[in-house]
């Protein structure tokens, strides 16, 4: 039986890992992720979850332990944030290169210096090219649902890539919302049993994992990862549909979600929890007779280029919000990714909410107004104080 609980985003993530019956968890605590692994440790200690909880001394070791576990064929989960994710950096490539379907919860938090524990998305954006699928959740229910979906996507034979489910630090990780916990049996039936053909530990069938990749095979191995990303697009959509049929909730087409986009000339593009604020503003302005749209990118990698282009085909002004910055270019990563294939559109970029700076409804309205009048390619830092 499913039940509704009033829980935080980190608790929702931990509940999702429990529902998916993970075999191994290895993680190191870091604000604002800590409550997730605390909850998982509690589940293991109480016998509510039959899993191995590997305690480690750093995030580098946490993800390394996950790779070892996943290489034996175990369903593996980890969670981190910010500096912790940065410390995992070199190992993230190994997880995708060895095609290990590890699922990670990342609490989006700013990177030092100055040290800051609040939300932006610089941490996960900086791991863009590591070969991990990246999903950005907009609320706590989506966090739980995305982690359940993530195991099914990651373990699909056509994909076999690790998945990072991102949720905004504090805005979601430490805010309680009603979250429907699906029935345990139904979730286990949905995700199935993971039986890999490429990663297992069996003395009777010895294999070599993670060998040297000499120049004559390295490029092919990376091309395989790219192909898996291509396949992932359809798998993510299918899993979203299947999830909707079973549990009654869906998130756009799994890759993107649109809101009032068909009526609007000006469309905002954003990821994560800020989309909730944008929807409120769109509703308010609709009552005044003004039409604005939202395109929420749910999966940043694989980036659903064709879906984004199709969704924006009637838009005139495209305002792209970034909770990150590419220094030396004065643009955010989402903007630089999209501008390349939206060449025939007027695109503007807004750097918002770095280090937990609030993004208020008035900021969204200002962005909408600015996008209508601005020149193509303009960048604006929102809420920047006079210096």
């Amino acid at each position: 039986m499913s039940k509704v609980k009033i829980i935080t985003g980190t608790s929702a993530a931990a509940e999702a890992a429990r529902l998916c019956d993970v075999d191994v968890i290895s993680a190191y605590p870091i604000t604002p992720q800590t409550t997730c692994v605390e909850k998982l440790a509690e589940f293991v200690a109480n016998g509510e979850l039959d899993a191995e909880f590997i305690k480690v001394e750093s995030e580098h070791s946490a993800i390394s332990a996950c790779i070892g576990a996943s290489a034996t064929g175990a369903r593996t989960f980890t969670a981190t944030s910010s500096q912790g994710l940065a410390l995992m950096h070199e190992v993230l490539f190994i997880a995708s290169g060895m095609r290990l379907p590890i699922v990670m919860m990342n609490a989006n938090r700013a990177l030092s210096a100055p040290i800051n524990i609040w939300n932006d998305q610089q941490d996960s954006i900086s791991q863009r090219d590591t070969g991990w699928i990246q999903i950005y959740a907009a609320d706590n229910q989506e966090t739980l649902d995305s982690i359940i979906q993530a195991f099914k996507i990651a373990e699909n034979e056509k994909v076999l890539l690790p998945v990072m489910v991102n949720l905004d630090g504090f805005i979601l990780t430490h805010t309680v919302e009603p979250v429907e916990l699906p029935d345990e049996e139904e979730v286990r039936d949905f995700v199935g049993i993971y039986e890999p053909k490429h990663a297992y530990l069996d003395p009777d069938r010895p294999i070599t994992q993670g060998p040297v990749g000499v120049p004559s095979c390295y490029m092919e191995s990376k091309y395989n990862v790219q192909n898996a990303m291509n396949n992932a697009e359809k798998v993510i959509m299918d899993v979203n549909e299947e999830f909707a049929k079973k549990f009654g909730r869906k998130y756009g087409n799994g890759l993107i979600e649109t809101y009032n986009i068909e009526n609007a000339e000006t469309v905002l593009v954003a990821m994560g929890s800020v989309c909730g604020t944008i929807k409120e503003v769109i509703d308010d302005l609709k009552q005044e007779g003004k039409e604005y749209g939202l395109l929420r990118i749910r999966t940043y990698r694989p980036l659903p280029i064709n879906h984004i282009r199709e969704a924006l085909k009637n838009a005139k002004n495209i305002a792209i919000l970034d909770k990150d910055i590419t220094f030396g270019m004065n643009k955010g990563a989402v903007y630089t990714d999209l501008a390349g294939f939206l060449k025939d559109k007027k695109t503007t970029n807004y750097i918002v909410g770095l280090g937990g700076r609030d993004i208020r409804q008035d900021d969204i309205k200002e962005i909408m107004k600015h996008a209508e009048k601005a020149e193509d390619g303009e960048t604006k830092w929102m809420g920047l104080k006079e210096q």
Binding site: G97, M98, R99, L100, L160, H198, A199, P206, I207, T208, Q209, G210, P211, G213, C217, E220, S221, N224
Partner: protein, 84 residues
């Protein structure tokens, strides 16, 4: 064809006889050996093999780390410098 995750499914696939890297060579005295299996367990390269009830060193892959010499409780394994 490059497999998923560049997995190699064939065991014993090293064609490069890495024994040529050796500077020191372990020599086993089969008469002193008591078959305690210490060398077999400790050899990091899996180069101690059992043949006709006695242990043997596989010099094709032994790199001469001499851990077996150190671990042998009855000093059945000695070492010499490789002559090239």
């Amino acid at each position: 064809m490059v497999t998923v995750g560049t997995i190699i499914y064939e065991p014993g696939n090293s064609t490069n006889k890495t024994g040529s890297w050796r500077v020191f060579k372990p020599i086993m005295d089969k008469d002193k050996c008591v078959m305690c299996e210490n060398c077999f367990i400790f050899c990091p390269e899996g180069c101690i093999k059992e043949k006709d009830g006695k242990f043997e060193i596989d010099y094709d892959y032994c790199k001469g780390c001499l851990i077996c010499v150190n671990e042998c409780p009855v000093k059945a394994i000695s070492s010499i410098r490789e002559e090239k």
